[in-house]
Symmetry: C2
Subunit: 374 residues, 2 copies
């Protein structure tokens, strides 16, 4: 061990336009430099309360159980499933991309009998077909992805899907990792039972926290479980005692990450949700127009194209990893490729939170044009 | 929602001398202000490699599977148990404080048949009694806490305990949350199979990551599991593919927290483990002498007293919450009380990592003396 082998950290000033993490807002970095306080310090309890209030605004909900899970978005997904599944429960999961696939995997691990509703990667679901799938099956839970990060598709008609779920006695779990704070999302108005997200997409924070909100139906179900949740760390019945009025110690909250989230949410509130959604849409439309000029056709039809994450097809003869490596090395720009069935076929370009800026779109399109000409 | 209700974060400059989190080293805060890069960026892969090398130094191990889990210390505990337990497996867990209790709870949730080895809070285990408990029972795993954060006891004879476990075919899981980087800990020399820790104790980082190291025996067992780990987020067979040469995406690593951990570990390496252990011991001895002068008797006998976390009994008539609240409000100093059977009976005073400094001991003793005189 020679400590001199380990140099000062000196990362490059990347422009993060991939599917996440997106760029951290400078004010968030500043908030993270605040002195640490203890996880039961009255000052931290105030940070927790304010973070919950701000999260409720961003989720557009009054749900008391609205908190950040102490892990990345994937931990949010796991919390949203494992707390509401008991071994043998039936679940319906929509699979039109990688994250639907992952929900199937996780739900299965907790003993759910999972039925899949499959659609091609990039497609979305119609409320009617979901209602047909729900009929007479006795599902306890149905789960769909609002914005599929692997495909760039945005699931419309969430309110209709929620209504269909409730007509058939199922809770609706919604993955909002790539949508929260970037596109309209109305948990209460749409009557979504459980939704989770990540700090590192449209909220402009580093990865490390997963906001989750749990409605009354789901909370009742949590309280009437017959078995303990196998997962102790993500057991919401324990976690909510720390975030609720009891303040019972469960685990040491990631203090600095919570400073970050509070600041990221405060920035959302200052901008206002409507203005924020309009900004995300305007910059995405600029990007879409530019990609068409470059003859890189959109992968997802306009009707259900997501503004926070754009996917486009590659030009003939384009080498995906080489092209992206040159963007990174020569322009400090990160975008991402496809994976699974879309590997080598699409680019994934995120314009989320602080990354969603006109100058980033202009630079990316210029850099891509220059690389395509050479 | 009125954004003006949410002010700039302006936390007080606390002196954190509780059981954790301890104070963040200023260099760690600076490292966290570095621009974010993507979780598959070549620059981040280098950060990951270096973090693993530095973790191996601090754990004193060559184990390839030595990584930070993307959650707090509790997630480390859960990862250390859930990956090595299959439903029906027999486990022996030493309970001499709160964290042993928690291991019983977690192991049970994953279907282990748990036998407890109970000792009073503050006591430690003798290798002989552990060997007696292991004999002819066919335990797959035995778990003990190296430094019990709830009591201030340090478990000695870890190498003998590991040998006893191996003679009887059990893996040894060791909780090193409060010991890693503060007291001698030799994973390879002692032949500990699985150990986990937290970033927010002796490593001077914010809470949010849980270093874990897994030896060859345990890794073999991981690979020969018959069932999937119920916990997807903490499934080491998936996580190790991201941290290993395959770099397969599992979840988005908390980039900024990993910047922090690398810097915290680099500081440990620069100081050197032996010098660091000597500093922790010297400052603890100063504290112990001062507490005796204040007639606050030690709770744990010298023979197994932990230097990173000191516990002392309260003086007659002292009101625990009021005293600690005054330390916080009047001196900005956080210490902690006891909980469970020790509630209202002890103070818990941490001198860990950047918090372990002579000036902090001097100030704390002075503040306590002044409050006791008034």
């Amino acid at each position: 061990m020679n400590p001199a082998d380990y140099k000062d950290l000196n990362t490059s000033p990347r422009i993060l336009l991939g599917p996440g993490p997106s760029m951290v807002h400078p004010r968030v970095l500043r908030a993270m430099a605040q002195p640490l306080v203890g996880h039961l310090d009255p000052e931290f309890l105030k940070v927790m309360n304010e973070t919950q209030e701000l999260l409720r605004y961003v989720f557009q909900t009054q749900n008391p159980l609205t908190i950040p899970i102490s892990g990345t978005g994937s931990a949010g997904m796991e919390a949203a499933l494992c707390n509401f599944i008991e071994p043998g429960d039936k679940a319906l999961i929509g699979v039109n991309g990688y994250f639907g696939e992952r929900m199937v995997e996780i739900a299965g691990r907790y003993g759910a009998q999972v039925d899949r509703l499959d659609r091609p990667w990039g497609a979305v679901f119609a409320p009617d077909e979901i209602e047909d799938a729900l009929r007479d099956k006795g599902y306890k839970l149905a789960a769909f992805v609002h914005a599929e990060t692997s495909t760039g598709a945005l699931q419309p008609h969430v309110a209709e899907i929620a209504a269909a779920c409730h007509r058939h006695g199922a809770l609706l779990v919604l993955d909002t990792v790539t949508s929260l704070g970037g596109v309209p999302l109305k948990i209460d108005e749409w009557d979504v039972d459980i939704a989770y997200s990540g700090s590192q997409k449209c909220l402009s924070c580093p990865p490390g926290l997963a906001p989750i909100t749990v409605g009354a139906r789901a909370r009742d179900l949590l309280r009437s479980r017959k078995t303990k949740v196998a997962n102790w760390y993500l057991d919401l019945s324990l976690v909510e005692k720390y975030w609720g009025s009891e303040r019972t110690y469960h685990h040491t909250a990631p203090i600095t990450m919570n400073y970050a989230l509070r600041e990221g949410l405060r920035i959302v509130a200052e901008e206002g949700l409507e203005a924020r959604f309009a900004r995300h849409r305007a910059n995405a439309e600029l990007l879409w127009a530019g990609l068409e000029e470059l003859d890189l056709p959109p992968f997802v039809p306009l009707a259900h194209r997501n503004v926070t994450l754009t996917t486009c097809q590659l030009a003939p003869g384009m080498d995906d990893p080489t092209f992206r490596r040159r963007l990174l090395d020569e322009y400090n720009i990160e975008i991402s490729g496809g994976f699974g069935p879309l590997k080598g076929k699409i680019f994934r370009i995120g314009l989320m939170g602080f990354s969603s800026r006109r100058e980033n779109v202009a630079l990316l399109l210029t850099a891509m044009r220059q690389l395509m000409l050479r």
